[in-house]
Amino acid sequence: MTIHASAGHGTREHLPAALLFAGALAIPLATDNLFLQDAVIFMLLWAGLAGAWNIAGGFAGQLSLGHAAFFGLGAYTSTLLKLHYGLSPWVGMLCGGALVVVASGFIAFAATRLRGPYFALVTIAFATVMQIVAARWYEFTRGNEGLSIPFDPTLANFMFVDKLPWTVIALSYVVAIYALASWIGRSRFGFQLAGMREDDNAAQALGIDTRWLKVVAIALSAFLTALGGTFYAQYVGFVDPGYVFSLDLSVKFALMCIIGGMGTALGPVLGAVLITALEMVLRAKWGGERSGLYLIVYGVLLIVVVRVMPEGLVAGVPQAWKRWRARHAA
């Protein structure tokens, strides 16, 4: 993997993202089509979550397959605080964020001791334990039945009738994560992360405290993931352990980021937009009675993309384009 931390400066670099964000904001203003408005909100949510995963998985190179644990904890914390104690989900969201920062300490500890597949396995086990606890602690979480949040749209309740406020909140979330990733890309912190990702021992030899870097990167990533969890719970109005803590979800965050390009600001956004659009097209075409078919295509795509373009589309497409040009110029 090449080091992306030194990618180009200037406004041109942010042009594709700016166009995507403007497009996302334009849709709820331009059309009344609820399907399209809903699609945009989910694209933004997944873009934010893929971007959150990117901080741990992409920049720091810690391939977590347990980020659903943070997502689920965020979703459950705000929902339980609201249902049991009447606390505003905005406050609940921050409580969830604080809780996962503590929980992420465990994953960070695992990251300092284990690498590659072993680390991935611990993160899976961690999320699975969370899932089992949420499913079995019936008195508090209502187990597999899940929790419904009564629809009562006010700003304090973090619920809206219109799609526009939802879009604005989701967009702010993505833009903040995009800005953070751009900053990481050119900061001292980002260069240290890149050094650690390429060679942990060499980075340590240069005096970089890689343990502390892992703790910070994973805590940041977990915190942002938990915020997305609360947003999901509020927007959908329902949480159940079978979905919010699932391995499928953890894979989804990672997958969108990998397809777009790990360790880049634009990658997760691009990956999320493409994968969500693909999912919707495939599901519309082959959903329903032929369930499963769209996920087959999705799986094949995953296998092909990681093999052909392991660096993701952001780095892979310009490279392929250059090669094509070079061949046809001669």
Partner: protein, 293 residues
């Protein structure tokens, strides 16, 4: 304490089955250094094969082994050449997401072909109960355990005494050194993958009469197999055997005392504790966890 013989018998039988699934995984993991997330899906396919053979042709799953073994070799070779071999020398991220992708494809192919309904293979004689030393076990359980034990013993002897078995163990210890000693490691990787596939193919035929079959059944067992493999140590067949027994005892005894609802938490916690405290596993060689370096 009346329950004790029953608990021990159940745990041993379950352990034998877990061992077979886990040995396949530990070989692939140990020799190829690839975590095969699709391992559970291979098991699921074999269970569906057992159900299909029984439902359409009335073939007993124990006779069906004669179909499952060659089928698994063909299927395993196909998957190896098309999906696995191109990523053997690639990064962990590429390997992990390739096998995850394969697992998504196979799970959903099953969902597409056979729907998400739970299916149960009921052998006419499978539910007959035998009492051994105060413990009641079913015929299907006894056959499953005996076959799994015989298969494991044969595999163990093969690894121990044949050239290919020794070459495989050498490759698991140090792939570069093995190549330098003149071992065709490319061929060893294929054989390891096929043996792994064979193990789950046999396990699936034995498990179909015991457990319900559904498209995601593999995930449940592969997670258990990961626990076993990590407990036992990477690439260690004996370790997998002992690890399987430990997990089966936690499963059965924990299920009895703590309640079935919480027993899974128990072995995942053990899993994380062992990985963090002793990444090479209880019986593995230290240093083996430095994958691919």
């Amino acid at each position: 304490m009346e329950a004790l013989p029953q608990l021990i018998a159940s745990a041993i039988i379950l352990g034998g089955i877990y061992a077979l699934v886990s040995i396949g995984l530990t070989l692939v993991f140990g020799v190829m250094r690839i975590v095969n997330f699709a391992h559970g899906e291979f098991l699921m396919l074999s269970m569906y094969l057992a159900i299909g053979l029984f439902a359409t042709a009335g073939i007993d799953p124990y006779v069906g082994l004669l179909v499952a073994v060659p089928a698994s070799l063909v299927f395993g070779s196909l998957i190896y050449y098309v999906v696995i071999r191109p990523v053997v020398a690639r990064s962990h991220a590429v390997q992990i997401f390739t096998t995850l992708g394969l697992s998504i494809v196979l799970q959903n192919a099953a969902l597409f072909l056979w729907t998400g309904n739970f299916r149960q293979l009921r052998l006419p004689y499978g539910g007959n109960v035998i009492t051994i030393a105060g413990a009641a076990v079913t015929v299907a359980q006894v056959i499953a355990f005996a076959t799994a034990a015989a298969f494991t013993a044969a595999l163990f002897a093969w690894l121990r005494f044949t050239y290919l078995g020794k070459a495989m163990r050498a490759t698991a210890q140090d792939r570069n050194a093995a190549t330098l000693m003149g071992i065709d490691t490319g061929r060893v990787l294929l054989v390891a993958f096929l043996v792994g596939t064979l193990c789950v193919a046999v396990a699936g035929m034995l498990m179909a009469p015991l457990f319900a079959t559904y498209p995601t059944v593999g995930l449940q067992f592969v997670l258990i197999a990961f626990v076993v493999v990590v407990l036992g140590g990477l690439g260690s067949v004996v370790g997998a055997l002992l690890g399987a027994m430990i997990v089966a005892f936690i499963d059965v005894v924990g299920g009895f005392y703590v309640g079935t609802a919480w027993k899974e938490v128990l072995y995942f916690v053990v899993f994380m504790a062992v990985l963090l405290a002793r990444p090479a596993g209880l019986f593995g060689q230290r240093g083996a966890e430095h994958l691919g370096t």
